[in-house]
Structure formats: C-alpha cells, structure tokens
Symmetry: D3
Subunit: 293 residues, 6 copies
Amino acid sequence: MTDDPTTLKIGLPKGSLQDPTVDLFRRAGYVIEVSSRNYYPRIDDPALSCVMFRSQEMSRYVEDGVIDLGICGHDWVVENGSDVHEVCELKYSRATTRPAQWVLAVPEESEVSTPEQLAGGIVATELTGTVRRYFEEKGIELRKIEFSWGATEVKARLIDAIVDITETGSSLVANKLRVIDTILTSTTRLIANQQTWADPAKRARIEDLALLLQGAIAARGRVGLKLNVPREKLEAVLGLLPAAKSPTVNELADPAWVAIEIIVERRTERELVPRLHRAGATDVFSYPLQSVI
Amino acid sequence: MTDDPTTLKIGLPKGSLQDPTVDLFRRAGYVIEVSSRNYYPRIDDPALSCVMFRSQEMSRYVEDGVIDLGICGHDWVVENGSDVHEVCELKYSRATTRPAQWVLAVPEESEVSTPEQLAGGIVATELTGTVRRYFEEKGIELRKIEFSWGATEVKARLIDAIVDITETGSSLVANKLRVIDTILTSTTRLIANQQTWADPAKRARIEDLALLLQGAIAARGRVGLKLNVPREKLEAVLGLLPAAKSPTVNELADPAWVAIEIIVERRTERELVPRLHRAGATDVFSYPLQSVI
Amino acid sequence: MTDDPTTLKIGLPKGSLQDPTVDLFRRAGYVIEVSSRNYYPRIDDPALSCVMFRSQEMSRYVEDGVIDLGICGHDWVVENGSDVHEVCELKYSRATTRPAQWVLAVPEESEVSTPEQLAGGIVATELTGTVRRYFEEKGIELRKIEFSWGATEVKARLIDAIVDITETGSSLVANKLRVIDTILTSTTRLIANQQTWADPAKRARIEDLALLLQGAIAARGRVGLKLNVPREKLEAVLGLLPAAKSPTVNELADPAWVAIEIIVERRTERELVPRLHRAGATDVFSYPLQSVI
Amino acid sequence: MTDDPTTLKIGLPKGSLQDPTVDLFRRAGYVIEVSSRNYYPRIDDPALSCVMFRSQEMSRYVEDGVIDLGICGHDWVVENGSDVHEVCELKYSRATTRPAQWVLAVPEESEVSTPEQLAGGIVATELTGTVRRYFEEKGIELRKIEFSWGATEVKARLIDAIVDITETGSSLVANKLRVIDTILTSTTRLIANQQTWADPAKRARIEDLALLLQGAIAARGRVGLKLNVPREKLEAVLGLLPAAKSPTVNELADPAWVAIEIIVERRTERELVPRLHRAGATDVFSYPLQSVI
Amino acid sequence: MTDDPTTLKIGLPKGSLQDPTVDLFRRAGYVIEVSSRNYYPRIDDPALSCVMFRSQEMSRYVEDGVIDLGICGHDWVVENGSDVHEVCELKYSRATTRPAQWVLAVPEESEVSTPEQLAGGIVATELTGTVRRYFEEKGIELRKIEFSWGATEVKARLIDAIVDITETGSSLVANKLRVIDTILTSTTRLIANQQTWADPAKRARIEDLALLLQGAIAARGRVGLKLNVPREKLEAVLGLLPAAKSPTVNELADPAWVAIEIIVERRTERELVPRLHRAGATDVFSYPLQSVI
Amino acid sequence: MTDDPTTLKIGLPKGSLQDPTVDLFRRAGYVIEVSSRNYYPRIDDPALSCVMFRSQEMSRYVEDGVIDLGICGHDWVVENGSDVHEVCELKYSRATTRPAQWVLAVPEESEVSTPEQLAGGIVATELTGTVRRYFEEKGIELRKIEFSWGATEVKARLIDAIVDITETGSSLVANKLRVIDTILTSTTRLIANQQTWADPAKRARIEDLALLLQGAIAARGRVGLKLNVPREKLEAVLGLLPAAKSPTVNELADPAWVAIEIIVERRTERELVPRLHRAGATDVFSYPLQSVI
C-alpha cells in the first residue's frame, strides 16, 4: 500500500462478498484487478489503494487507521465494538436483498423455547461478544459461550443452542433447527475511520464514492423504459406510471406522438409493461442501466 | 409447492435448458434462485411457484394438473400425446436458433437409404411412441423399437438405424451417420393445462407472462441504435433503415440536426452501421436491450 | 474452410485471446460458436469463414494467403518478418489496456546492467529472430540465443539473461528480475493478406469489419449518460462536460427543462456524475453501450 | 467392435459404475483405456472387445446377441425380462457392500402405510414393468404408473407414491420419505448371452474371467498378514487366527522361531493385530493384495 | 451421534487434514464415508461414531466430554489450555514430515530483530492466548494482540509483527518475512477425554486404535524387501542390512540358497538395493505395506 | 538450484509427463514436492536437486551442463542434435507402452502417397530440423517447412502435409489423415551430460538411480504371486510357470505341502491363475510390487 497521505486506503471484503464487491466497483466505473495470490488488488484510480481483509476484522483496521475505509457487515462493527463512522448501507449481495440475521436457535425437538431456559447451558457462536452482551442484558447466566470455527449449525445437537447468521433460513431448515430469538440484524456498510471522516476534503471524496456505489446498486434493480404514445392517450398512460418519479416526456418529429422515458424498478416493469401495451403504448422497450443517481 | 389456488404453478426444465431458462426469466424481470439440492426454485413473485422437471415428462404433469404451466420441447408434447394448450413458442436456447430435428439415421456405409429398407430391423430411439406411429403410418413393420438411454448415435452401428435429435448435425457428422428422413421438428414451448387456460383470469396472467418472456427473447437479438443526422440528410438516412419499423425522430436543441432512435436486429446493425456512417450520420451508437414488446 | 473466393477467411487467435476475441465479435454483432474439438468455429455470416491459429503463427498463414485476415500481436508479425497489411489496432484484451512489452531482463542480483555486458552469454527467449537482430544492431556478440518453450522467466537464473513479454510487470517482480532494456512494444492487430487488401471490394468489407470491431472496443470503456437540467443551469452543466464531444440536447414537454445525452468514458463518468449532481442535474443515469462509432 | 467370432464382446456399464469397473478390470490384470468421446474402450486383450452401455439397457443387448457378456444390475435384467445367463455376482461398487433396494415410498406425513391404500393413485418410477407386476400380483389397481426421468424422490409429494432405488437410505431421509415395502433387491452381475454360454470353449473363457474378477474383488477387502512367532507360542497364536482358512507356517533359519502368513479380511485384521501383538507375535505386518482366488 | 455409552465418539479434523485422515483410517482397516453435506461421517465399526470439527476447536469438545477422542494439532491443545490426555503422535500429513512451527516474523526490511523491540507494537495471530503468554513470560508489553482471520502473513507489513504457522517456510519466503523466534512446535495428536482414558476398558480400545493408526503410518514410509542369496554370500549380505531390525531368513527348496525378507524404510531401500545387487543378491524386489506394528 | 558440485542436478519434464514422473520417483523411493508456482521441485535427497523443463529443451540444458541429468524423449535429443549420453530407456508413460512415432501424414482424400510427391509443397511440423534432414536425405526439395505451434494435425488440410507425433493413431483417425511414412520412433530416456558421465563417482550414482527407476517401472507391470501346492503336484505346477524366471520354492511346516512364490507379468497372471487353480494349487493370491530389480 502506498504511503501517500492523500490516497484513500480502502479495505475490500475477502470471501463470499469478494466477487460481488469487484463487480459493484466495476459497475460504478472502477476496474479492480484481483489476483489469487495477492491481497493488494490494483484499482485504476491513483487516488485509491486497496487491501483485502475478512469482513470480521475490517472494522478493527479502520478504527486503528491502518485503512481509511472498509466494506463489511454491520454485525462485525458491533461485535468488535469499533469506533468508526458508518457512511452508508450497500445492499449489493447477490443472492437476496434480505438483511442477514443472527438468530438464537435450538434443535426442533429441543424443549427450550425461551432464552431463559438456556441458563447454565453452552452456546456456540462466531459472535461471542454480542452473544455475551445479549445474555447479560437479560440477566441469564450461561455455563460457556464457545467460539465456533464455522459449521455452527451442526453443533446445535451437541451442546444446548447456537447463535448463527441466516439470510434465507434454508440452512436452519436443513439442520432442523428452531429459532427462538433474533439477536442482531445486519447489512453491508461502507465504514470510515473517524479522523479521515473529519477531514473535509477526504469526506467529500468518500461521499462521492458512496454516491457512485449506491448509484450502481440502484441501477441493478432498475431498467430504463421507453415507449411512444399517441398524444390523446398520454394522460391515460402517465396515470399508469409510478408516481414517485416523473417521466421524461419529449417531442417527436411527428406531432401526434410523444416519447416517454422513465426509470422503473424491474419488479414494476413486469407488471407495467403488459398494462402499457393494453393502454395503447407502442415501441415499448427497456434497457439495462449502469448507474442511477 | 403452495396449495394456494390463485398461484400459478410452473414447471421449469431441468438439464441443458435450466440455465438459459433462469436467464430468460431474469431478463423478463424475475429472480429465480435455483439450488443444486432443491427441485423447487424460489421466484420473487408470490403469484408464481416453480418446480423442476425433465423436459421429457413436463407435459404429463401439465396435463394431469400437477402444474399449471410448463416449458418444454414440442417433441415431448407429441411423444407423450398430452392434451395441453401450447401458449407460444420460446426460441431462447443459447447455441442456435435452428429448431431441433428428430432424424432417422443410418451409418454412412449402410446400404439403407429409405425407411422401407428397415422392415424387419431394429431401431433405437428415445422417442419410441413417435417412431412407432411413423413406421405404422408408412406400413413398415420393424422387428423392435428399442428405447435408448442416451448416446443413441453410437448404437447405429450395433443395430439397423436410430432416430435421434440434432440441432447442428455435428454429432451425426462425428459419428459418420447419414440422415434418411426427418420425423419431427421441434421448438421450445410454453404449455398450459387446459383447465387453467379456460379460466379467464389465469389465462390473462399467462398471456402477460408470455408477453414478458417473448419480449426478453426479442431483446436478445436486437439493439437500440441512436444517431444524429443533419436535417438535409434525414431522408437519405431514413431510406437506409429497415422498413418494418418506423424510427423515433426527435428534435434537438440545435435545429439543424435531428436525433434518430430505432430498434434493429443485431445482424442488421452490423450491415447498417457502416452505411449510416457513410451517409453522414454522426454519434452513431448502439446499446443492449432488456425487453422489446 | 470454404473454397468460395468471395468468402473472407479469417484467423482467430487460440489461447488467452480466444475468449476475448469471441466476445469482441459478439459485441460487434457476430455469433461465433467455438467447440473445444474443432479449429473451424462457425460464424453466423456466410461471407466469413474462421479458423483458429496460435498468435505466433498467424502472420505466416496470412502472408501465404492460406487466410485473408488474422488477429494477432504486432510482435509476431515483426518476429516472422511477414509481409502483411496491418489494418488497425484492436485494444481489447481483458486485463489491461497497457501494450505488451518484450524486455531484456536479468536476475535482480546480477551484475549486468547494460546489454553490452551480455557479450559471450546465453539469452533465452521465445522471440529469437527479433532478439538476434537487436544484438546484431548493437554489435554485441552472444554465445547462444536459446529458443525457450515457455516459462522463460524462471530460466534467467540458469543462464545469463532472458527476453520475455510482460504487461503488468508482476511476473518479473515475482521472479525477482530486473529489466535492462525494452526490445519491442506490441498491441493486437487486425492484419490482412496484401493481395486481399489490394482488391477494392474485399478491402471495403475489411474496413467495415474493422469499423465494427473498433466500435465494439470503444463501447466497452464508455457509457451513455443522461440527465435533465433546468434551462437556467444548462450552461453551467454543459461547462462540466468533456469538450471533445458535443452532447445531444433535446427538448422536453416541460419547457423549463432540457434533457442532455452524451457518451462519456467510464473513468470520466465517475468524476463527472458527482459534479453534475452538485450542479443541479437531476435524473442522472448511465447505461451500457454495445457499439460506438 | 470386431467381427471376429472368437472375440468375446463385453458390455461395460456407463455412469456411476464406469470408473469402478475399469478399476476392477485393472486389478484383475487388464488395462482398459476409456476416452470421453468414445463408447468402444480399448482393452489390452485381443480376445476381448468392449462397448459401453447404460446398465438399464445392457441385458437387452446381451439377450439379442449384440454382445456376449455384460455387467449390470440384476434389477434391470428383471425389469427388461431378458433371457440371459447370470454368471456370477460382482460386489465391487465403491461406496458400500449393501445390495441396492427398490422401495415403495411415500411422504413421511402421508396417511398411506400399505400398498393397498394406493389403489387408484399415481406411482412414479424408473422401473415401470416391475412395479406393474408387483401391483398386479397384489391385485391392486392404480390410476397410472408414470415413468420417471430421474429425481424420482422429489416427486413423492406431487403424486401418491414412488418406487426408487436406495443403498444407504440417505436420499429417503433427506426427502423425508417413508418406506412401505421393498419390491426388489439387486446386486451387480456378470451376465452372458445364452448361446455364448452354451458354447463350451466360450463358457470356459467366461468362467476364467469371472474367476479373475471375483479374485480382484476378494482381494480388495483383504490383506496378507505376516508375523514371526516363538515356537513355544505357536499354538496360542494359531488359536487366535480365523478358523476358516489355515495359515501358511514356515521354517526360519533360526529354529526357535516360525513365520506365519495368512490372508485375512481387513475388518478381521484390525481386531486381530492388537491381540497377536499381545500374544507374543513380533514383526507383524500386513500388505495389500491384488487378487485372491 | 449415538447415545450408546460403550461407543467411542471420535472427532475427525475438517479442512486440510480431512482427506489424509480418512486415508489413514482406510489404511488402518476402517472405511469412513464422508459426504460433503454431513458432519457425521459413517464408519464401518459399530463401536465407533465420528463427528467432524475444525482442529482449532477439537480439544475443547474432548475436554467437555462431547466426544471421547479427537485428532488435532498439539498447538491448539496448548492454545485452548484444554485438560485432555495426549495418547500419541500421528505423523501422517501428506506434504512433509516436518513438525509445524509457530514463528514470530517481521518484514525482511524491518529493523526489528528481537521480541523485545516489539514492545508497544501490534502483533496479529490466530493463536492469541499462546502469544500473550509468550510475551508475558518475557515481560514485554504489546499495544495489542489482534486475532487474525486467516492470511496472517500478508498483515506483517500493515502492523508490526505476526505469529503464524509454517511447515516449509515457503509462505514466509513468498511474503518476504524474516523469522525472529519460534514460539511453539506442533505435531498432530490423538487426544482423549480424561474420564474416558481413566476407564480401563475404553483405554484398552483406544490403545488398540492408536496401535493400528501408528501401524498404518509406519507402513507408509516402509516397504517389504525380499531377496534370494547364495548361502556363501549370506553373511556379506546380512552385513549390509540395517542393524535395528533382524531379517527373516528362511530355507528354500534348493539348499544352496536362502531367502531373506525384511521391512526397511523407503529411504533406506533406495540406497540398499543397488548395494545388495552388487553383493550378489538376486530376485530382489520390494512391495508396499499396509500396516507395520 | 544448489551450487554444491557433488549434487546431481536433474531436469524433470513439464507437461504430460510431469505427473507420471513424480509418480515414478515416488515408486522408486523418492518424494518430490511440485508446487504449481515453482519450477524447482523439492526432493527428499540432499544429493539431488531438481528443475523442470519442457521435454523439447531438456537435452540442450543437459548438453550445456546447466543440469547433469534429464528425462526427455529421444526425439528431442535427435531434433536438437545434442551431444549427451543416453543412460537408459524409461518406459513409464501411463496410457500405453507403445513408442511414440513421428509420421508424415496427408489428408485421407489427398492424392499424395509418397514423400516425393510433396516436392515444392509446404509441410508443417514441430520437429523442423529432423524433417529438413529427412527430405534432404531423400533429395526432395520443399517450398517451406513451417514450425507448427501445436494442433499440427488440423493444418494438414490447409497446406500439403504434416509431420506429427502419434502414439495410438487416434488423433490421425479423428482428423481423417493418412500416414505415408514414419520419420522417427521415440521413447523416453534418462540422459546425462557427457562430463558428468565421465566422472566415475557421478556415473556410479547415475547408474544406481537408473537401476531404481527401472526397478520401479518393471514393478508396475508385474505382481508377486504366491500359492501352496501338494508336493506330488509340484512338478505339474512348476511346468505351468514362465520359464524365464525360476520360482522361489520353500518348505512349509506341513511337509506334504510346499509354498511357491514368483514374480510374473500382469498379463501372464491373468492367464496363469485359472490354470494353476485347475492344476491343484491352493491359496493362490497375488500382491502388488514396488520395485523389481
């Protein structure tokens, strides 16, 4: 990594978020070259330099100033108790848009149905600090909180309960576990070192980066939609469009027609297009977007 | 699968069409999550539920009402003799746009050149019912029609003839086989259960889905093309454009120029663009499409 | 390959450039089907036929007229001393836009720092002809120039020096080598047989193909950018846009606003978008391009 | 395949048994070269020629005399009703030594617990003939027996019951199915065409091949075990050895000691060795076997 | 896992040791079936049941009695401070027979050459407890010991020093690190729960298992060597053999010759065989071993 | 690589022979650790050091003394015209024991059937020097001999003929080529630098290594065979055994029986075992070998 003080040092998450992160930056206009042997990916912007960390340790290196910025889950900021600035949410993981949840779970057949019943028991989790605080706040005393090195869900039948992360719940179902409480809800965040954030020039650059990353995320779930409408049906067609955003209406050479262009969510598109078609719109087509501010 | 009677149950084809089908739905605005262990993919539309079947058995489950809709080859609708409604063609397989053909083939060196010469012989095929009807209609009596569990083409030299599917003919060439007749031509179809189709509300929803899927297929072979033209060259440029579709011509701030936008086939684009360039168009560019109705 | 004299025979590079080349043609509007067993890919244009060669031998087959056109590195045109026409550069390799360099390198710890100190030594390289000419021109006599069958960089410590290709320099770093001179700089080229190029009809077709390929390359690093601007801020916004290219400004139904559309480089976009946002532009979005002439 | 009438034509099973079969022949002294593109593997014995078929269709080609010998499951001999000679069992599949079972299964939550309760229902299976005979013999009339193209176990919840193959039962557990009857038990067999088997010379060669294949299978679960014993402890040590097989006892140069060598099952070895050690045996070691007749 | 109190519950290490462990048990006479989805592998011995844990957490589950036995590195027994019985060493990892070492390392260019110079600095490691004790014993106060989630070696340049595991040192070389001290040396161990070990019947069974596993390990690096020797050269030949182990000499039918059989290390074999050959031994051959007690 | 003058530096072939070579050394008693990034594999013998070269360039580095020994094809020794000592043949490639052949081949449909008819034509080959000498010796003048960078067989239809390597002929068949002459036959060799070979101490060590490598190769195609025979059938059984090698006959405790042990080829085993069985031998079993001198 560079020692140039004007360069922003950014930590990118290794692991399952690595490829989506490189893709997110690509859609935001940056080329990041990651090689399997190297933890310092190249980025085509001399004002940025990158390093890869596991999401779990990111906030500690941001807090210490080893890096200025990092991308990681909110859960690990909490777990590490790191004093960092959370710039914005970045909802870009591929599989789902649901936030991740850390849940307290027991085997389906267990008689435990409340946290209180775990008093004196053993709980395994990767998030030991957060789980400790959770039980302390409830005044429940456990025998042990074991740090779990992965595959936490299979341990539920060996001890008393686990606290594990879940997005879709499918791993819980596959392991026949029952959730008895949700301990923490988490999404991915862009976080900044407090001193970096306090520097106005750096803060402006971070805000620009956040704008670009959020623009790229917004674009993925949206399309540009174009259609031509006879002037007399314009009002009817405009009535079908989502209210939140006013469409761009522009003139055509043929004065009897106007062209409409609007950015819509992909889920809206699939309901809207058949209706527009029935309402007399012609030349309806949609196209993918790169970025939407 | 749900038991909600308003949900449309749709069968998606396992096998070589699986990934292209998920991609087709994605381009039509749906997110389908397939996991390798699960035959019930999630779809982000509560009004649809999905199950995966092999293309060969799809029409039987649609006919029986186990599912409302299915995507499969016309060939297996015919082979199964299923009473289903074929909603529309869906030409979306990746490799080629040619329809698949089931051909009667013999080794290059065989003396057989007509179906009649196969009387008393053995024919192997995956499509035994269709082949049986073919020979019955011609009044040719075979010794046996053997059901072939894959790799049919390599059996041609062990018995008398085979009936196998081919798209490009390359497998026939590689196995040195000679086609002596085409028995069935097939493309992929969206098929519906007859009762479902008879229900007007469900039929309208199926027609909307068909519109979206066909829009996504149409978009793949097309691009949006934009160019600016000096007003005095407008007529010449318009003369170069495909007649079928009128372009959108709109005004620019500079009154000496107009902007033209048109959807063209990708094959047309590659011939058109050099000509437009020579005809005085400037700022010619094209962009990919998501959907074209 | 066809024997039709009007068909243009084009050689595509096998190896690391193969997939990017197929992708480049796809973006230029052509579908090429490559099968792993076959050196004659299909292309969906009856006026073209394809064959795959290694980049190293391409220019020899173009020179001999076995093929009309080829895509290969300038370095191997030079090395082979082939008499061909270089139609245009095609900068489309994925990893980087830097040209490749053939460098004379020695181990970091070597005492050699000038080519002259290699007199009497052994140099290994894949580019023996070019290296021979390089040393001859300098009047330096080597003991041997060894043809290296790959992994040239690891031989530097076994003999005296190597001449190897590098794009990013990372292989040199990994092998702890030091560059003492650059012998040849190279980019990918479209090359044509001299007789084919001399035929006006064929030359026109080659120029059209070059236009399409270059249009596809240009599109990859650019996006279409759209924004709406209040008429009173138009001037300020226009002042922010890159000077080289005038934007398309068009009228909206609401006369207080105008719409701006412009093609910009992706690197420009990421700097421009935050500024446009601050300057009062709304509905700023960008979309990917297929081709830009 | 050859037309030489003295060559034995043998069908090898494609699919999950393919690699274990090649390995079995290798251990029996044959080198078989399978290439992914070719259904006629080479074997280093001019008196044999090979072809690959799916296990399901093997017995039909053996019955018809297309091949002399085949290796396939007993289940498909029964299903096809083929008139072939079953030469011997070959228990060599890798994962387990349990025979495969075709079971009638329903969802765990189904109310069905006897075959009779399925009257009027739909059953899906790959083994339609055998299932038809099973229900006919019981006098139970079904609505339909559907041929299932794979993934039969996931269909149990869509129709009424399935008949599917299982070795360990783990797929049944994973799909939460309950077995209500076993319809057929099957192991792998070497089968011969009846006419080939009736030919004494060919039959002798088949018996030799069976001997070698069975010798290779027997060797896999056994080891050669050697130990030295003081003469006075010989009787005690011999008393520990399995009774079925008398050990080879031989003289050593030192008359106070004898050497014992015996072939034992691997499961026996692991219990025997610690006991022999305690009984005074020294230099105990075991070695792998290639073949045991 | 079973609840049968006579069953020994054994923890097998997940990760890089998983395949070698299954292979070790196979060579010791056990078949373990691991499926990728399941943490409870089957073993063909009803008196054993298996579960997979990461090496890091093994000793904690053995200490707590969740399992009776485990296989893991000595380092993690120390790190966890677990009160367990170390039954024996098991040197069976594939790549090397060197013990693993946890070393304190700094960048090559660092000025730090003693642990004392790290006072006030940050050290990253996966083995935080052991590292804490190490520095405490030396009376050196650090600013922080950071738990490192993998890729520890690349962090050496971001903070002050790391403590990481190394077998061959190649990762240290690749990352240009310099070792300043070795903190812990570790090999793989079979460990037992203290109560289980105190039970004489269980202890005997564990000792038998240890004997078999060690026998399988010993066999891997050895071969059985056989040779025939003319009686008059016997003494000379015996003189060449390793002294540690007396060979088995036995009589042949031809009284002029004797046969010698001996177990030798593979490294010895390669030096011994050429010498035996020169000394007049004939029919020299070696064979692989399964187990050597 | 080391600079110790007593260390033998050995070149191992990269490419298709790499894995078989590592396996050959393993069977000869050496552990070689190859890492994908490193051209200097470790070997567990301090008196040897290894480096990987392509077979094509091996003999040049042996000739120059960069290495003392190498393993490569005889063809490339000839092609390079290298002055090296060929120590022995090493027939260990996996697929086949046939020697490789460099053949002059033309398309099946070509009118060329003798080398003379190629006068004035173009021939492509990887072995340009050898091909040049071949045609010069025959007094045939070609237009060009093109160096071919792989996939030579597909070029036969673009030029006049090719010279390519073949083991089984299957690539020639697949490309529909016809052989018109064989130019060179080649097997793998252990080669030594002439000066190294002239040094008696080093030569002795090379001869030992050759003995071990050849012993490992001999073992692969052979097994140890053991059987017990009643004394009265001994003569009959001995009569069945291969004459070349006298078996070891030894006494058993039971004087009515003798034990026979013999090394036989695997091809012999499969014919011999059924015969021995019929001749009254009992306890017949075979076991794999590591090395046979």
